[in-house]
Amino acid sequence: MPTYASLALVAVAVSTLAAAPFYLSDYGVGLLIGMSGYVTLATAWALFSGPTRYVSLATVAFFGIGAYTVAVFSETLPYPLVLLLAAAIGGTVAAVVGLSTLRLAGVYFVIFTFGLAELVRQTVTWWEVNITGTLGRYIFLPFEGRHIYWQLLALLTVTMLIGWLIGRSRIGLALKAIGDDEAVAAHAGIDVTRTKLVLFVLSATIITLVGAIQAPRWTYIEPSIVFNPTVSFLTLIMALLGGPMRLWGPMVGAVPLFLLFEWLSANFPNHFSIFLGLLFILIVFVMPNGVLAKLEGIRKGAAQ
């Protein structure tokens, strides 16, 4: 059971974060939106990919689906319904991907997700050009930056809560067992395919919602904007840097990397993907299990 002290701490942290827009400039709120968006993406990504070690490269496919759903339906449907619809579409795509790959070896999943964003991008482009005859779309929703931020903060809080609950539940244990040895997990009675599927759909649905909530920020949307592969890449680096096996890991990785990314894209707009690529390779070599695990290792080493 959580102690009352830690519950109080979380409540204070969330309300401080929620109050932040009242004290910040528009630029500051913009940063908070980006940061909470990426923290949520990385946390949701790690929900599935962390324990199972099935590396999903499709983050932006779902993110983009969310954004596009909002762009298409925001004028015809009430906003909460649009969010629900986005979640449903993202979840359905994830279910199709999962059902066709997750009963096979992990590499099929990676391959499928690797090209998925490009597939969705090309298909949406084709649809818009040939069927609806418009490539770009405008989103007119009466949201200011802080409204978007609050929604993201709420989604992040829920995501963390889900992660925490999973960590204490049967399904959390099942995921860890699957990550260690699928065959042993199956012989112990775990329905390996179903467990992976449920978690992948959950993770993808949250990612879709991040895209949907952030969409109004752009005002103008087209496939090349919302299906930008850098989003998948950043999410992956962030989760790995912090440590995808721990609840707080992705957040620990996402905050500094987001700031770094902001700085890089402001100062070296053409070179950031080179920097990030190199940084990412370095992370895989130096701390394959993330900063938190590294720190723990150092602490243990010092204690001995």
Binding site: Y108, V110, I111, G115, Q122, T125, F233, G277
Partner: protein, 288 residues
């Protein structure tokens, strides 16, 4: 119709060629290289540069780019992959690590290409004249591309099936655990297989650039197609890759001709989905 079949064969020949390269890297060197398609794109731009700036023929570009890619891939293997191989406790761990590192590499290569060439569609004109083949007109560059794919593919087959070195490669592919018992240095074979895979990718890039436009960000699509061809053909089967490449080339060409060119990747994915659902071991792979 016949025209599309011929064009499909040309495209399929190229796919088969690059899929053979990927088979060398994944089947023999055991590295899942997500930056594979970016090697192809680098070769495309390299050819473009040599053709447009130095007025070289693409055939001469081949002589520079293919050895260049061999050396580059060899260096990548030594610097990035060998340490991963050394630290991996098992095959799965190596797979995850190599996926991650080559995913990073992909962004590095793509970033460099974007800085140098920008993000636009690029192409050059070479042998852009029609040739009559059995009653239909095919452009000469496509024909040459097809012949080159055949020559490279044939040469690889010859090496693999008729030389001692090729026998070593196949031994490592079929039985990596027991190959050392026969005095085969598996690490060395892996290094060379990875480098040869890179060289094949580059040759595929030169071939592709002769008849298609390309962009700095198209590497992902080539990697996907090569992977799908490898899986469709059955992992490790070169004959399978050949046939699967041609199947995919024809499917794509027909979709582009009769449905919509914007849906070729969707068609590729449909093929992929069908294999995953009905025959994950591939058309020619043995059920393990």
């Amino acid at each position: 119709m016949f025209e599309h079949i011929v064009n499909g064969l040309v495209l399929g020949g190229t796919y088969a060629l690059i899929a053979m390269g990927l088979t060398m890297q994944y089947g023999i060197a055991r590295i899942m290289n997500l930056a594979f398609g970016d090697t192809i794109i680098v070769a495309c731009f390299g050819t473009y540069l040599l053709v447009s700036a130095f007025a070289l023929s693409p055939l001469l570009a081949l002589l520079i780019l293919v050895p260049g890619a061999f050396v580059f891939s060899y260096a990548v293997f030594l610097a990035l992959m060998q340490p991963l191989v050394a630290r991996a406790p098992n095959r799965e761990a190596l797979e995850v690590d190599s996926i991650l590192v080559t995913f990073g590499l992909l962004f590095v290569i793509q970033g460099i290409l974007l800085v140098i060439f920008g993000g636009a569609y690029t192409s050059y004109s070479y042998l852009n004249v029609g040739v009559n083949v059995l009653g239909t007109t095919v452009s000469a560059n496509r024909l040459l591309a097809f012949v080159m794919a055949l020559v490279f593919g044939g040469a690889l087959m010859f090496v693999l099936f008729r030389t001692r070195w090729g026998m070593m490669l196949r031994a490592v592919e079929l039985a990596p655990e027991s190959a050392p018992l026969y005095g085969i240095d598996v690490d060395r074979v892996a290094r060379y297989a990875f480098a040869v895979g890179g060289a094949l990718a580059a040759s595929g890039g030169v071939v592709v650039s002769m008849y298609q436009t390309f962009t700095a960000t198209a590497g992902v699509v080539f990697t996907m197609k090569a992977l799908i061809v490898v899986i469709l053909g059955g992992k490790g089967s070169l004959i399978g890759a050949l046939i699967a490449g041609i199947v995919l080339g024809i499917v794509e060409t027909l979709v582009a001709a009769y449905i919509d060119p914007g849906l070729t990747l969707a068609a590729t994915y449909a093929v992929f989905l069908a294999i995953l659902l009905f025959r994950p071991t591939g058309l020619f792979g043995s059920a393990a």
